[in-house]
Amino acid sequence: MSLYQNYYAQPSYGSQTYTQPPPVANGYHHPLTPPQAAYSVDPATFRRDFSARLSQLTVNSRPIIQGLSMYAHDYVRFAEIVAQCLEAHIRAVPPWVKLPSFYLLDMISKNIFEPYARLFSTFVIPLFLETYQQVDEATRSKMVELVLTWRTGSPTGKELFGVPAQVQIERSIWGETSSSSASSHPSSGFIAKAQVLSELEFTLGQKERAVQANPSDATSQNHVHVLQQLRRLIEAGVSQDELKQILSQLRTLMRSNPPSTASQPPQVSNTPVPSQWPSQPYTAPQSYPQTPSYPYAAYPSSKTENTVSSSSASVPPPSVATVPAGGFADLLSSLVKSGVLSNTGTPLGAGATAKEDTLHSINEEQEASRTYRSFVLRHPIQLSTAGITRGRPPIAETLYDHLTSQCKQCGIRFSDSVTGKKVMEEHLDMHFKQNMKANLNVGRGHSRSWYTGIDDWVHDTVDRKGKGRADGSRPLSGKAAAAADAAKRDAELRAQFVVVPPGDEAKPISCPICKETLKSEFLEDDEEWVWRNAVKKDERIYHATCRAEALTNTLASRLLNTGRSRSVTPETQVLPSKKASPSPESLVGVKRKAEDIDSTLSQLEGTPPSKKLAIAS
């Protein structure tokens, strides 16, 4: 982003910007270097050059996109040609290269705005929707992120392509929902959970990046936390009203979000950087999360406070934190008010909230099934041949009047109660996901699965209500879940490391528990030698996995306490693995204890601990 600031701050940027023109395929003169470009003013030449450069845009490359965007900026007088070329390009290329072109369209409209946004708005709706139909799931979510930035994409913080366009696109994506972004308060109507979730994901993504860029930014961290909590809530299922609340709060928040330039590395003067551009991909929202509000800062006409917060880029969080804090405070307080969040504690009380929520819904469910039972039992039907052939229960009432809403895809009916609506929503979400999956999977071979084994089948009871298979995957059985859990724990343990003290790199050191050498490894990022899967405890280095294993065993923890008597110095010699060497009498007592533990563990598990973990993972 720094580039853009330079770009606007320095209207007279020179040819440095173009020191890296994309290679021209046919080598036909060099119209792309600015000096020449400046002379070749005739529209036909411009069209040819622009198209040629556009045709390079087949991958998501930031330099190319930025270059094209600047090119468009230089030749605003040919804006119409730019628009035509871009439209033709997006229409012509195969679906998987359309996204980068949309990024270009996005960048040009946001950063130059007039007249491009106006010109693009004439074709952007059909083009976007058409593309949205053609691309895969991953690209779609990227496109949705893009659309979300358009809500506030104009220099004045309004809809980039105007309210009607925004509404139309959002409607087509999320269906006939109340996505009217014209007002920050969604009008009444059905709000899809998916929509709220994707907007939330977007905001969350921005915040997470902010935290990544500036780990000490406590405010953003808090925001991430709150948003994650919200996401859990929404996933667990909340009512329409609550969804509406959350959505409107999220939108207000996104609007009031100040340029999060704070999250960017400090600004580096005005030195042009083009030649050092890393050829990293341009990922619209990721790489410029501040986009929605960026033009504020860029345009001299925009409000001063924004410029201030933008220029305070490198100032540590507190000063920046004020505005979003307000937004989040609002979000939280209003959510508390609406009862979405528990008001008993800090925003961190997510667990309690979720619990309360579940309790609440369980009560509702019980109530509903009680009602159903009393309704059904009201009709005296004898379970006898005469009873069932003569009895005429109120069929229409049971089947249709009590279950008023029908799924238009598979015919299943749901009651009109709060619980029923929730179940139906989950059901529709399931269809949505399955349809997505089906579209992705077209042409891929499918096959009949093997049946499950006894244990899995006996314990596979999550399936009920079709909830378990909402994502089409088999619900994890108790066993599988335990295995997954173990694998996760193991991965976490293995990720731990201890930095090797300088000078000790070459020294072999072995884990006191398993006697195997700790492997040292060079960490590129930190530029340090480390021991992987290691923890330091009482001046001794252990395998993190071995220690965790040992800690669960009382015998082993006794050893750890008595183990102090052993030499602290890392052993210089690796003992052969215990299986290979039957413990000789000469071994010191403590060592034998260690052996005992190992054998106890392996007896318990059937395999040596390290192997067992490998299997579990």
Binding site: I388, Y400, G411, I412, N441, H446, R464
Partner: protein
């Protein structure tokens, strides 16, 4: 039947509580759209405006409680109003055994009961058990199986009358991605080895009980057991055999309601035997039931095995667009099985009991059987007459991992993880070609052969 031009749809207005019955001819299909009103197929409700296709000689009926208009593209038959009765209603969860002679509509009754339970909106997922080895259920003919049903079972083809076992394809309906639990009996006739039937029924019951023990809500939804017609009637000499198997079912599934479909004699018999401790109800046989002959049943077997390996895509009648097949909008319902050559030694194959076995009662007095009915006999593929070519084999779950838990007859109690067909035997090279539902090595597995065969 192939018609070159677009068939003109015909509309029918159904009076309330009447049904429209139809049969699809071999090799053809039909599409039915609910134009107005409400209608269902064996309890599974239809969505208005969506064409539903039917194929593979499917015989079904569109029923309406309140009256409706349907539109049918292609073929046949007339509708006649037939009232239907719905049972159920007790303090105890219903555990229903459905008995009835051949062609009485037992499976359809099961399906209707399950569909109505699912439809209540109470989140019930009743356990549907199929102990009729001549009916494929979610497996292939020859298997006994059970599955919890959480969504309505659609009817569109004879190939998967009770919904479909899970595949790797994403499906819309829960009942098209079922996780069944199956045992291999291996024959379509229950009399062939009734000792084995008895044992498998009890095993099935035990595991269902285990599962429902973990799942109070599942228990509430009830158990519905479909039985073969041989339980209901047969020559006098087989009475003992029938009664033993019915008893096994009642014990194993803790049955509390017996529904006898249209068979007065059996109803009386059941009343006498069990009337004191459980409810026996006779329900009339639907007038819509179609008499099926032997060759039809054989064709249905073929459809079912083919469907297990290859899935099924019914070509809609010309002119019908965006139709749904058993509730699935997906057109990609073809499955890709894998055909591999394996060494004879890779797969241990057993047969339970001797290949051709006269019932014990038919043996000369005093003569003892050389091979008992329950003894696993290893099958040597290199011997001529092994019967392996074209045989359907059931691949069994692995033996118990703990050696100490093993026992001689364990093989009889192992559940099935899938089925394969031997498509070629190369005795000279000691190799055989196997059609398997999915990729993956079968080396070291144990398989059981029965008397069922299949050829593409």
């Amino acid at each position: 039947m192939f018609e070159s031009e677009t068939a003109t749809p015909r509309q029918w207005v159904l009076e309330l509580e009447s049904e429209y019955r139809f049969e699809v001819e071999a090799g053809s299909s039909c599409a039915i759209t609910l134009v107005k009103g409400r209608a269902e197929v064996f309890g599974a409700e239809l969505v208005e405006g969506k064409p539903y296709v039917f194929g593979s000689e499917c015989k079904a009926a569109i029923f309406t409680w309140l009256g409706c208009t349907i539109e049918m593209t292609l073929r046949k038959l007339h509708g006649s109003p037939v009232p239907e009765g719905e049972p159920e209603g007790s303090t105890e969860p219903p555990r229903v055994l459905i008995l009835g002679p051949e062609n009485s509509g037992k499976t359809t009754v099961c399906k209707i009961l399950v569909n109505y339970a699912v439809r209540s909106g109470q989140g019930w997922a009743p356990m549907l058990v199929n102990v009729d080895p001549s009916e494929g259920g979610w497996a292939v003919p020859g298997a006994l199986s059970a599955a919890a049903i959480s969504g309505p079972i659609a009817t569109c083809s004879t190939a998967n009358p009770l919904g479909s076992a899970a595949t790797s394809a994403p499906t819309t309906l829960a009942s098209n991605a079922l996780l069944p639990f199956a045992y291999w009996y291996g024959h379509d006739d229950t009399k062939k080895n009734s000792l084995l039937m008895d044992r498998l029924i009890r095993n099935l019951g035990m595991h269902i009980d285990d599962r429902l023990g973990n799942d109070p809500e599942g228990r509430t939804a009830g158990v519905i057991v479909d039985t073969p017609s041989s339980f209901a009637s047969g020559p006098g000499a087989t009475t003992e055999h029938r009664q033993k198997l019915i008893k096994a079912c009642i014990d194993a599934f803790q049955i509390n309601v017996i529904l006898v479909v249209g068979h007065e004699k059996l109803n009386v018999e059941m009343q006498r035997a069990y009337g004191s401790r459980l409810t026996v109800v006779k329900i009339p046989k639907s007038g819509g039931v179609v008499e099926l002959d032997r060759s039809y049943r054989e064709r249905v077997h073929n459809y079912q095995v083919h469907n297990y390996f290859y899935g099924e895509v019914i070509a809609p009648p010309p002119g019908v667009k965006s139709a749904t097949q058993g509730g699935e909008t997906l057109t990609d319902l073809n499955l890709a099985p894998s055909s591999t050559a394996v060494n004879f030694s890779d797969l241990k194959i057993y047969r339970i009991g001797a290949e051709t076995m006269a019932p014990s009662s038919a043996l000369p007095i005093g003569a003892a059987r050389v091979v008992s009915e329950m003894q696993p006999v290893a099958v040597d593929p290199s011997q001529p007459g092994s019967g392996l070519l074209n045989a359907i084999l059931a691949i069994l779950a692995p033996f118990h991992t703990d050696e100490r838990e093993r026992y001689d007859e364990e093989i009889l109690d192992l559940n099935v993880i899938g089925f394969v067909v031997v498509t070629n035997l190369d005795i000279a090279h000691k190799k055989m070609t196997i059609l398997s539902p999915t990729q993956g090595s079968l080396v070291g597995r144990t398989a059981l052969i029965g008397s069922l065969e299949w050829q593409e």
